[in-house]
Every structure is written in C-alpha cells, then in structure tokens.
Subunit: 238 residues, 2 copies
DNA sequence: CCAATAGTGTCTATCAGACATTATCTA
DNA sequence: TAGATAATGTCTGATAGACACTATTGG
C-alpha cells in the first residue's frame, strides 16, 4: 500500500475514510414553548454560526458513536439525557466544506431545569424556540437535521408519551398535553389524551398538587416503562 | 500537523477516522417463505463466512452513503430496490477485527423474480430463509443487524402495506396477507386486512385473475403512494 | 356432489373525537 | 359571587377482531 499525495491511508484498514461526526437535537419545554439547544461554533468551518451540539467521533476516547453524542452533550449542558434516539445518518460530499463527511444524528428530550444552571453561565450555548431556530441561518445542514428531529418527535407524540422527559420530574397533565400539542402542531382533545394515559397506567400520581389560578392540578411522575410504551392507535394526525 | 507513526492523518480534516461501511438487509418473499439475501465474503476479514451485502463507502465514487448501499446491491443482484429504508448506524471498536468501524444499515424489500436470474448464476450470493439465516454463524454483527431489520419490517407491516414490494408486480391479496403474517409473526384476520386496504384504496385491481386449486383470485398492483401510506390504527401486535 | 380457495356480512369491542358538565381553588 | 383552571360524563363514529357465510373454480 503506497501513500498518496492527497490522501493519506490509515494503517488499520488502508482506506480513505470521510470525517465522522455526531449531531444532537435536544428539545426541552420552557415557558410554554418548545425549545432546542444551539451552540455557537468556536472554530472553523462555519465559525461564529449557531449550530447543533455535536462534534467529531474520537476513536481513542469514545467506545461507540452514541458515546460521542453523550460526551458532547455533557460538555455543553453538564447533564446526560435519559435516552438518545438515533435519527438518520447523513453522509455526502456537499454538507461540509472540508469534503465528504458523515454525521450520525440523535434527538432527545430533557428537562429544562436539569441543565438550566450550566447553560445560563455560558454565552455560546442557548435554548432557542423551535420556530426562531428554523428562521436562523445555521451551520452546515443543521436546519435539515432539525426538521428530521422535529418530525420524529411529532410522530412519537402521536403514539407515546415519552415527551414527558422534556418536563420537570413532577408535572401536571395540562403541561404534558400542551407539550404534545406543540410537538404535534395542533390542539388535541383533553379527554382523549387523559383517557389513554390513565388506561395504560403510564404515570405515577405523586399525590401532590400544584395550583396556579384555578383548581389545583395533580402532579405526576413518569414511569420508566413509559418511555417504550406504544399506543396501538394514534392521535389524529394533521 | 505532524504525522504520527501509528495513525496517518488526512489532509482534508486531519483527524483519524474509522472505517465507514454500509450493510443492507434485503428481504423477499419466495415459495411462501420470507428470505433474505446473504453473500459469501471473498476477502478478509471473516473470509468465507456468509454476511450481508454491503461494503466500504468509496468517497471517490459514491455521492452519498445510500449510493454505496445501492451500488453494492446492484453488484450482487443486478437490480436496485424501489426504495431503501435506513436503519440504525452502528459504530464501535468491537464489531470489526480491523478496529473502530461504523456501518450504516439499510433494509429493503424486493421482488424475488426481479433478481432471481442473476442470483442463481453466482455461487456467492444466496436467498436464505430468515429462520435459517438466524441460525447461521454470520460475519461481524450481521446477526444483530438482521434482528433490527426484522423488527423494523415487523412494525411497518402493522401500519402499512409497503411489504407489497417484496412480491411480483401482480399479486393476490392472499399472498400479501401471508407475507404480512410472516413479517408480523402471527396470523391476522382476513377481513381486517382486506377492509383497510380497500378503504384506503392502496391497490389497483388489474382485472386479471389467477387460479390455483379453488376460486380464482383477483390480481392487484401497488400504487406508488402506497409506499408512504400509514394507517392511523395498527393491526394487533403480538 | 366435495374440496379448496376467494371473498363478503355482520356483530362486538375498543378507543378517539367532540363537547358539556361538575369540581376546586383565589379574589 | 365570578373567574380560572382541573377533572369527569357521555354520546358518536371509526375501525379492528371474530367468525360465519356465500361464491367460484376443478375434479
């Protein structure tokens, strides 16, 4: 195997391989809005632009691709999301000015308060409202990746309540429903929403109440199984 | 940037990157059985073992990752599947003896007759019954990848009829249902199955009939839209 | 006629949509 | 008391499950 001028070859496999990165679309619910985490790029390319938290897979540090995603999220938010959902992997020669590159995309939901402290102390990491983020000029193809993540979360909201992980540990049904409405993009019937949650026994009633303005609302916590539960019948799609 | 002894660096991005490959789990329906395409490896590592059709992404030839998957499938079967469904991307340092490697996995359904001619002429490509394939000792983590593909196809069968693409261009409803039962792993109600197909108008009645043993069965073709159609309500899961 | 396979009728159960009603808090 | 928000009652409609029944072919 001879070295070439414009493409060095790795000893292990001897093949010219593209850059391998990860990108995560981290959603949260805060101030009655759906927000996602953006990071200002501190280095070239696209230096100064806002983009998704992520970075290059380091095969010396990371045991697998998801470990890279987790490592990068911990760096930016200081907390690990309870789960990471793998989205599409995008790889082509247009998406990065450095040439052929691949990004493995993830999405997750996380409680705002869990990472608010850390995020608020730094200027290069910010929660941005989804609609505002989509109007920004973002790095690389991150606009497209956010679209993919949004669609995945929308589908999930139709047949699961995993979105509860974007709320504080204890939350009201009204909060959970409003988040679902933001994810789905249209209002849903209160009765339908509550009925299915109750029948599938997906939440734990803490017994506590929270009050703001009217009758106090019961506070619930997620059950660990709820994350994987799938209703056989979807809520009405748009 | 200095070169290191054990890890050459690429000029474009200067980072040590893992091997990038694709693997496809191609299903078909033949002789009342669900089969998948296996390939005998002709080179190291795992030479001689059977595994999934796939290979290394060639950034000089392939415009994107899916192009690699298509190129490799055409090499093995001489036909392109009508669509490729991206599955998980698996990347870690255990799955390949050559070291840290990544595979972007795809799954697809294809008509058996479309590629039967080519496959039958070569000895290193074979359609294998799913159950038999899972009992074989396959290369790398291909056993796991098949499991992921099978589960994806199973889910799809519960809310779509995209599996029709594993049949000949014209097929009977009984064939389509039997394939669904193989994918889902349990019998389904004939009435439920036919009702939803009829109501969603997903098939075209060719007007022709095929007869074998009893009353002749109507022959149908897929509509192009059917591939993306999603029923709001699933068939009963196991 | 029977055997075999295709196709339909129809009842029930489940569950989402719609929306009205009642409950519980503060001011 | 009014206003606000939470929680429930209840009717309708859509659709899957279950299974019996009819239809159409060959022998």
């Amino acid at each position: 195997m001879t070295r070439q001028a414009k493409s060095s070859r790795r000893p292990g496999h001897g093949i010219e391989t593209p850059l391998l990165t990860v990108d995560s679309v981290l959603f949260t619910y805060h101030e009655r809005a759906l927000k996602l985490l953006l990071v200002r790029r501190s280095s070239e390319p696209e230096k100064g632009k806002w983009g998704l938290p992520g970075g290059i897979v380091d095969i010396d540090i990371d045991d697998d691709v998801e470990a890279t995603a987790r490592r990068k999220l911990v760096e930016k938010t200081s907390v690990e999301p309870p789960y990471l959902d793998q989205l599409e992997t995008i790889g082509n020669r247009e998406r990065d000015p450095r040439g052929w590159s691949v990004t493995v995309c993830y999405t997750a939901l996380i409680a705002h308060q869990a990472c608010a402290q850390h995020v608020s102390t730094v200027s290069d990491v910010r929660w941005v409202e989804l609609d505002a983020a989509l109007k920004m000029k973002l790095a690389f193809d991150h606009h497209k990746i956010i679209g993919i993540a949004r669609e995945r979360q929308r589908q999930r909201a139709l047949y699961s309540i995993s979105s509860g992980y974007a709320l504080a540990e204890e939350f009201t049904l009204a909060e959970l429903q409003h988040l679902h409405e933001l994810l789905i993009g249209k209002p849903i019937q209160k009765r339908s929403f509550r009925r299915r949650i109750e029948q599938a026994k997906l939440l734990i009633d803490t017994g506590r109440k929270r009050q703001e303005g009217g009758r106090p609302a019961a506070l619930y916590r997620m059950k660990p199984e709820s994350i994987t539960y799938r209703f056989v019948r979807n809520l009405e799609a748009s």
